[in-house]
Symmetry: C2
Subunit: 323 residues, 2 copies
C-alpha cells in the first residue's frame, strides 16, 4: 500500500514526503522540476521507503510508465496530488500555464487513477477558489465562487473534476483548501521576495500595493499536521476543508517590517498604491476554519508566529545554510 505524491519536489510535496516517510509509509514521488527541485528531496531521496521518477504529468505515456514501474514495487492505493503552477502572478500573463500545470495535471491524474484503479485522492486546493467576496468570512459553503486569478480558476476546475470523479470511480476524496502556506524550502511568495530584495539592496524595501492587504498565513508544518489529522479523522466520502490559522491574518506591512527586523534592520520601506499587489490578488479575506476546529484540530503557530518562523528559515535557506 503506497502513496503517490505528485509535485513531490515542490515546497509542500517535499515536506509531506518527509513526514510520510518518517511514519514508515512507502512513498512514490513524481515531479517535472518546473518549480520543484531535487535538492528539496534531500531528506528522503536515500530512504528505502521513498522512490522518485521525473515525470511531466502532461505526458500521459510517461505518467503511465511511472505508475507501472511504481506498482511493480508496491501497489499505489492513494494519491496526494500537489503538482500545480504555484506562481499565481505568472499565470495571469499566460493562462496556458494554469490550464496545463494546475488543471490538466489534475485531469491526467484522475485518468491515471481510473486506469490503475486507485480510489483515494487528496488534493491541494486553495483559498484562491473563493475569489474576492468583499471581506465576507469564507466558510466552505459560501458562494458564488468567482475566482479572480487563473490559478484560482484552475484550482476550482480541479475540485470540480475530482468531485465528478468521486461520483463515478473514486471512493474517497479530500479537498484541502490551503491558505498562504509558508516555510522552507521556499520557492516563491512574498517572504522569499522580501528576503531576496533586502539581500540585493539592504537599505530599502519596495512593496507592491499600499501594504494594507491582510492575509492569514500557515506554517507548512501545521498544514501537514492538519491534512494528516483530517485524513485520519473524517469518515465522509467527500472531505472538504479550509485549512488555516485561527486568526484573521497579518498585513503586508507587518511582513515587511518583520523581514527588515530580521534581515536588514533600519531599511526603509517604500509602498506602492492601492490595496492590490497585482491583478488577481485578493486584497483582504477572512478565512473561516471553524469546520476544522470543530473536527478538533488547531495550529501550533498563528499567522504572525508563522511569518516570523518562516522568515528565519528562509534567511537560512538563502544563506545556503540548513533551513
Amino acid at each position: 500500500m503506497a502513496i503517490l505524491i505528485t509535485g513531490v519536489a515542490g515546497f509542500i510535496g517535499a515536506n509531506l514526503a518527509r513526514v510520510f516517510v518518517s511514519q514508515g509509509k512507502t512513498v512514490f514521488g513524481v515531479d517535472n522540476f518546473s518549480l520543484g527541485s531535487i535538492f528539496n528531496l534531500d531528506a528522503v531521496i536515500d530512504d528505502a521507503h521513498f522512490s522518485f521518477i521525473e515525470v511531466d504529468l502532461l505526458d500521459i505515456p510517461s505518467f503511465r510508465a511511472a505508475f507501472v514501474e511504481f506498482n511493480k514495487h508496491e501497489k499505489i492505493t492513494e494519491v496526494w496530488h500537489l503538482a500545480a503552477n504555484s506562481d499565481i502572478s505568472a499565470g495571469l500573463e499566460n493562462p496556458m500555464m494554469d490550464l496545463n500545470n494546475t488543471f490538466l495535471t489534475t485531469f491526467n491524474t484522475l485518468s491515471m487513477m481510473k486506469e490503475f484503479k486507485v480510489s483515494v485522492l487528496a488534493f491541494a486546493s486553495s483559498s484562491a477558489i473563493y475569489g474576492d467576496l468583499n471581506g465576507q468570512r469564507l466558510t466552505e459553503d459560501i458562494g458564488p465562487l468567482l475566482p479572480i486569478s487563473n490559478y484560482g480558476a484552475m484550482k476550482l476546475a480541479s475540485e470540480a473534476a475530482i468531485s465528478a470523479a468521486a461520483e463515478s470511480f473514486l471512493s474517497k476524496i479530500f479537498l484541502f483548501r490551503f491558505p498562504n502556506v509558508i516555510g522552507t524550502p521556499a520557492t516563491h511568495g512574498v517572504l522569499l521576495d522580501f528576503v531576496r530584495k533586502l539581500k540585493d539592496s539592504p537599505s530599502s524595501l519596495e512593496v507592491l500595493g499600499n501594504g494594507t492587504q491582510q492575509k492569514s498565513y500557515l506554517h507548512v508544518d501545521d498544514l501537514i499536521s492538519a491534512m494528516l489529522f483530517i485524513r485520519a479523522q473524517d469518515s465522509v466520502k467527500v472531505c472538504l476543508y479550509n485549512i488555516g490559522p485561527c486568526d484573521d491574518g497579518v498585513t503586508v506591512s507587518f511582513i515587511a517590517e518583520e523581514t527588515i527586523k530580521a534581515a536588514s534592520p533600519g531599511a526603509q520601506i517604500t509602498y506602492g498604491e492601492g490595496v492590490k499587489g497585482w491583478v488577481g490578488d485578493v486584497p483582504r479575506f477572512i478565512y473561516s476554519v471553524s469546520k476544522l476546529k470543530k473536527l478538533g484540530w488547531v495550529p501550533k503557530l498563528n499567522s504572525a508566529e508563522a511569518v516570523q518562523k518562516a522568515i528565519s528559515q528562509i534567511m537560512a535557506q538563502e544563506k545556503g545554510g540548513k533551513p
Copy 2:
C-alpha cells in the same frame, strides 16, 4: 457591432440566433456540427444579418480565421458562448468529451476574445454546477459546488475561467445557469427519448429510475426571453443568474404520462429502480430563481406547461412536420 454565437446550430443557439436576427442585429455563428445541425439554422441561414462558418473551437487556427473573416464585415463586440457537449450521460463514459467540448471550447473562446479585443461575454452555464446539495434550495450563492457529472464540472470550470478573465480583460460577463431547457429543435433529453421510444414501441414506455426524480423545466422561448431581459437590465460587471421557472418542477412520471397522453394513449409505463436515472443525474433539486424574479422577469410557462408544449413540438419535429 456584431454578436458571435458559438454552438449556433445547437438547440439553444439556433433559437437565440433567430431572435437576435429578428431584432435586426448582425449575428455571426460558428458550430462544428458535432451535436448541432445545419437544418436547425433554416430560419436564419438566408438572412442578410446572419453569417455562418463551420469551425471546431478546439482548432485555434480555424477559430482565429473565422474571427478575422467575420471582423471584415463587422466588428464582433460580444460573444454568446453556447458550444458544449450537452449530452451529460455520454460525458460520464468519457471525461475527455466534456474536457474538450465543454471546457476547452470556453478556454479557447476566451483566448480569441483576448486576441481580438472583445470584452463582453454571455455564457450558458448550468444548474449541474451545483451537484447534489440534498434538496437544498439552490440560490446563486449556495455552496459548496461539488458537481457530480463531468458536464457540471466542466461548466463550473468554464465559469471559473471566465470569472478570472473578467478580472483581467473582459469588461462584462453574464453567467446564465440554465435549468433543463426544452423545446425544439430537440437534440437530446428525456422528452425526445420518450417520444422516440413510443414511436418505436407504442404500447410501452421504459423509464430509467423509479420516476420520482423531480426537476424544473423551462421552455427555450422563456430561456431566451430571460437572457435578453438580464442582458438589457443588469448593470454590474459580473451578472450571475439562475434561470428557470418559478415552480419546483415536475416528476419524470409526469413527463412519461404526458408523453403517452399526447403520443400513444394507453401505453404502459415500466419503471426502473432507484431515484437516479444514471450516474451523475441529480435526483431532486429545487432551483431558486428569486434573484431573477427580483430583477423583474417571470416565465410565461411553468414546468408542466413547458413540458406539454415541448412534447407537442417534439412530436411535430419527429414526424418531420414543422415544429
